[in-house]
Each structure stands twice: as C-alpha cells, then as structure tokens.
Symmetry: C2
Subunit: 139 residues, 2 copies
DNA sequence: CTAACTGCAAACGTTTTGCAACTTT
DNA sequence: AAAGTTGCAAAACGTTTGCAGTTAG
C-alpha cells in the first residue's frame, strides 16, 4: 500500500518539467520528500522536513510549490481538519480514515469501501471527485 | 427537503435550555436564522445576517455560539472548502454536493447515496461519522 | 448572588502577497 | 534576454482569547 507508485524518483526534474512545473532545487527537494512515500503532510510538516537539508526553503516557497503541485495534479488536498490543509502524495483513487483523538490520517483503499449509488448531478455539471472521510474516536 | 424539521421555532429559548445552552438574546437570534431553514452558513454569513436586526451580535459571540451549538449537537460543521468552515442546521444523516465553480453546497439525502461497505476500524476505536462530499464542476 | 455570557480589541496560526534578487529556459 | 521562481517581511484571513462589564438562573 504505502509503496512508491509511478513517480520517477530518479529523474524528478524531468518529471516536474513533464508536469508543467519548472524544476528548481527547492521544488525538487519538496518533491523528494513528498514522493518518497504515500503520506499526509501539512505545509508546516513539509517546511520542517525540507529544511533539515540544503537548500533552505522558505515558507512562501513551500506554499507556492504545494499550490503548483495541486494545480498540476501531482498531489491532492485532504480536508479532514478545519484548522489546516493536508497534502496527499497518493493520487490514486482512495479515501481517508481520520482519528479525531490523535489527528492521524490513514488511507482507505478502494477495495475497503464501496459507494454503490451517486446522486444525480446538477445540469451542466460533471463529477470532479467523491471524497469520503470516515471519522473514528476512542470507544 | 428544506423544510423545518423538529426545531421548535416558537420556543427557541426553551429548546436551547433543553440542549444545555443558556438562552441569551444573541443566541436566540442566531438560532432563529440558523433553524429557519436547512442551509449552510459560514460564520461571516451569520454575522452579517444576525446584525440586520437588534440585538447587535459581535463576531466573538457568533463564533462562541456556533462552537456551543456544535458541541451540543444542534448544528454540524461542514468541511468542503479549505478556506472556511460551514455550519449546517440539518443534523439528520445526509451528505453534501459541492460546486467547485460557485462554492454552492447542496444536501444529498441518504436515499440518493449508498455506502455499501466500510473499512475495518482500528482497534479500540468506534465510528464517529462518515462524511461524503461529491465535488462537481462545469463540463 | 453566582455562574455564565457579551463585546471589544488584541493575539493567533495558517496562508497569501509585494517586491527585489536570482535561477531556468 | 525573458519568463518564472525565491526569500523575506508584511499583510491578510478566519478564528480564538483575555478581560471588564452585563445578564440568566
């Protein structure tokens, strides 16, 4: 499950270029962390993780880069907590389980949840995505 | 669908009292707007709506009141947009359809969507809720 | 009378922006 | 060279908090 999927870990620069994202040292650094494994990072998490090594990356660049990655579909926003956004490097179809006590986010594979019927969409609209969050807490 | 359900529109003070919420002029005013119909308000929406009439209600009180109402289960938070929280006066089981272009939120009745299978919950955890957001955009 | 609530303004944490210097193409 | 990106600090945004004064029970 938490394996690296189709992200070219060896040629991140080329990968970013192929995604309409100009590769810079900072963006490659951020991509390296983001695509090392499937995980859910807040902007702050990434800001800290990225600054344990050179090159230094500013907060503005972390936000700009995450914005660019989301815009180009390299990562996805996860809305489970009202106080901050999480970024998910797993872009394959899946859902989330959120632990209200610990704040932990876990993936739910498409085989573990089944949506049988969808509502009729408004006229002139198409489906963008279906997001399911299963919230759990201690018994 | 958007009918007033079981909220006692006539005796809001008594209703609030029965929900462990001390009824004050401000809270009754907020409740009046919130429970007039099933709708999705941001804190700012409510702050504006509540201040078209007496008594004046401060932003702090709007937030405190919404917090109290959520804590006591009178309303529910809806997370569809990363930039702000929406508050839903419909507490019956239902899901949401979110229009990415307009920001509009619509209810999806339990008859319009079917979740067939849920993942196994972590040990020692119980289900709190399952939130589904169907996101649509223009074709 | 006491506990709870209110308004205000200040503080908070997250995210965005303006701009001059610097890379990428 | 032109276009795009970076860092910094400042600003903006939604939301929370501290506190003196007010209201509910």
């Amino acid at each position: 499950m938490d394996e690296l999927s189709d992200k070219p870990f060896s040629d991140l620069a080329g990968f970013l270029r192929s995604c309409n994202v100009t590769p810079t040292a900072q963006r490659i650094q951020i991509a390296r962390i983001l695509f090392a494994k499937n995980a859910h990072y807040s902007a702050e998490d990434l800001y800290i993780a990225v600054n344990t090594t050179e090159p230094r990356v500013s907060k503005a660049t972390v936000y700009n880069t995450l914005g660019a990655f989301v815009r180009e579909g390299l990562i996805k926003e996860v809305l489970v907590d009202s106080s901050k956004v999480f970024y998910d490097s797993n872009t394959t179809p899946h859902q989330h389980l959120y632990d209200l006590d610990t704040g932990e986010i876990q993936d739910i594979g498409p085989d573990q949840i089944t949506l049988q019927q969808l509502p009729m969409l408004p006229a002139g609209k198409c489906l963008d995505s279906v997001e399911v969050v299963v919230k759990v807490r201690k018994q």
